[in-house]
């Protein structure tokens, strides 16, 4: 069964750097115009979005989460732990995208069931290539369970 996805793909980007947010948006726009990038600029916002709290009551359940580790208020490690501890959220592919190259971060992320750990490439080309491959793989080729909670 090939990509039976029709309609928009919702990606939650948890990222506090507006520059990175914009770069990521740009890269996804180039890679796949069907992708909707939703942004949470810290861990609290991210959880609020995922749990559809308050203003996020109408938020979609994302198909994919790109999570930075170093965030204000609640950092990415905590967000990851909460997502993977939540039966309704844990099936959402959650990929770490960070500048951290610390071994402990890599190890801990996988221990918390991150689906992948990606380093933010330094150059624009490499960044764009990475976003393309995320689209190709996670948003195109991967088959995910149908979620009853999705609208």
């Amino acid at each position: 069964m090939s990509s039976a996805r029709s309609g928009p793909i919702d990606v939650l980007l948890v990222e506090d750097s507006p520059g990175d947010v914009r770069l990521t948006r740009e890269a996804f726009r180039d890679a796949n115009p069907a992708v909707n990038v939703h942004v949470a600029s810290d861990g609290v916002e991210a959880m609020s979005f995922l749990r559809r709290e308050g203003a996020n009551a109408d938020a979609p359940r994302p198909d994919f989460i790109l999570l930075d580790l170093n965030l204000p208020r609640m950092d990415g490690r905590e967000v990851l732990a909460l997502i993977k501890d939540d039966v309704s959220l844990r099936t959402i592919p959650t990929v770490i995208l960070t500048t951290s190259e610390a071994d402990t971060d890599i190890l801990n992320s996988y221990a918390l069931h991150a689906n992948a750990y990606l380093r933010k490439p330094v150059t624009l080309e490499a960044f764009e290539a990475l976003v393309r491959s995320i689209n190709d793989f996670w948003l195109t080729r991967v088959t995910l369970p149908q979620h009853s909670g999705s609208r």
Partner: protein, 650 residues
Amino acid sequence: MARRPRPADDVSLTPGPTTRTVPQAELPEVMSDALRRELSDEKYRTLFNSIDEGFCTIEMLFDDDDKPVDYRFLEINPSFERQSGIEDAVGKRMLEIAPQHEVSWFQIYGGVALTGESVRFENFAAQLDRWFDVYAFRVGKPDARTVSVLFTDITERKGATKALRESEESYRLLLDGIEDYAIFMIDTQGRVVTWNSGAERIKGYRADEIIGQNFSRFFPPGEVKRGRPEEVLRLTAEHGRHEEQGMRVRKDGTQFLASVTFSALRDAAGTLRGFSEFSHDLSDREEVRANYRKLLDTSLDAMVVVDNNGAIVLANGQAETRFGYDTGELLGRQVTTIVPDGVADRLPEYDLASPAGAIGQPPGADTEVIGRRKDGTEFPIEIMLSPLAIAEGIFLTAVVRDVSVRKAAQENLRQKIDELARSNVELGHFAYIASHDLQEPLRMVASYTQLLSRRYKGKLDAEADEFIAFAVDGASRMQRLIEDLLIFSRVGTAGTDLVDTSSDVALEQALQNLQAAIQDSGAVVTHDSLPRVTADGTQLVQLFQNLISNAIKYQDRGTPTVHVSAARQGATNWSFAVKDNGLGIEGKYFERIFGMFQRLHKRDDFSGTGIGLAICKKIVERHGGSISVESEPGQGSTFSFVLAGSGMTA
């Protein structure tokens, strides 16, 4: 110098002529005038002809000053020739017969001739080589100056005496030569009989002052009162020998510590004939000790000498000063007073009972212990122990060095080293964190200038395009710089353990990382089979990658060719070589190229951060090896580095 004892009969033993006037009353009857008159008579002539003694009548010869200068033989008896050894003497002058005949003979006979006083004497006639016992008396009228001489050859007796005398003389000289010891004899009553120069030097008496005096005067008055001198002689007589150390009194009343040995002198029959005393002034040693102490005082180190009970028997000025004691105050104290631990407990190590045991011990190694001052304060000391065997016994010398200053300096140095290490680590972290954090905003600058360039190139004016191009170039160069800085700082901070690593695999990985560069340049990279080494695999990849990347990059003619090889160096090491056909490097840059930010080329010709070889050097040095280059401009370069083999086969 020496006054020596003179035997009572010394007069007869003196070699020179000695005369003794024979008092008139003692003259024998034969010498009376009456008899003398009858000498010419035949019967007396017969008598003199028959006696064994030599006899002659001589006429004394005087010079103008009435000094007797010779004599002439007038008559002799038959024994004369035998007794004197002179033949056909009659009518001859003595100096005709024996030209060297001693003047003393003439003086004696002249005296007899002039005074008429008879003499009896013994004298030696060198030219005749005989000793004579002589009786001379005047005969005839006084102005006739004729003397009759009755004599006996006593050479034989004298000869024996001479040998004895020589022996005695040697012995006396021997004893006299000994100045460090008083050697003398005492009779059974304690009177001094002989005296040598040593005795004079040590006790202060001349021989003539002390011979005949009782030896008890050498003892302090108290000892005399207690009867010690008599007791000493009694003990000596009883045991044959007696030794003691005690105070003795010099002539001037001063006292000194002496070591004295008495021996009983017995004749062949075993009868006690007297005593010999042999004594030595120990205060001389005190002086030596004082000098020794002076010597010790010049030492910068504190020194104490400890006996086998741990008591201090000698301490120099430094020891007293360091430990806060007054001069002499340490003597007799236990060494534990100043060095609570470290000496007393080690005394048993030194078998101080015997010289062999003590000397057999190796000198103690420097030991750091605590020293305690008189006021109770403590300070670090270093102590070196060594056994000392001297006449007085076996001791332990301790050289004590105050190491507070050194310890403080050491501590200071250690702190500085710690600080330096800490600051180095901090600096490493700082470099890492700084470059890491710089990377983030830079990524923004680089990415957005690139986006700008991509989206607006040709849409603005030419100047804008140029500006953007510079911004893009600067940002990307800075990115490479920071990336290399990160790699460089990670060599020290993020390295993994050095383990058995295949350098073949590392090279393959490096080549894979360089795939694009190799393809773009069309480089031909070959390599031998490479060994297993003890290394950080990631860093080894980086090392190959940097070297090969350089080899490909610094190239101006055609196809870059690179060859990687390895050769054994010594038993355990491998020397790797990365050889290229590139530009080559001038010899004066061989050192410099391994430094940080060192570049040999203009940026327009070859891009680079100037960090690549610094990274290589840091990696190799972290592995305990070294890196170097051999090259000539236009002849290519060979970079060599040495790594330790892992002992595994490839």
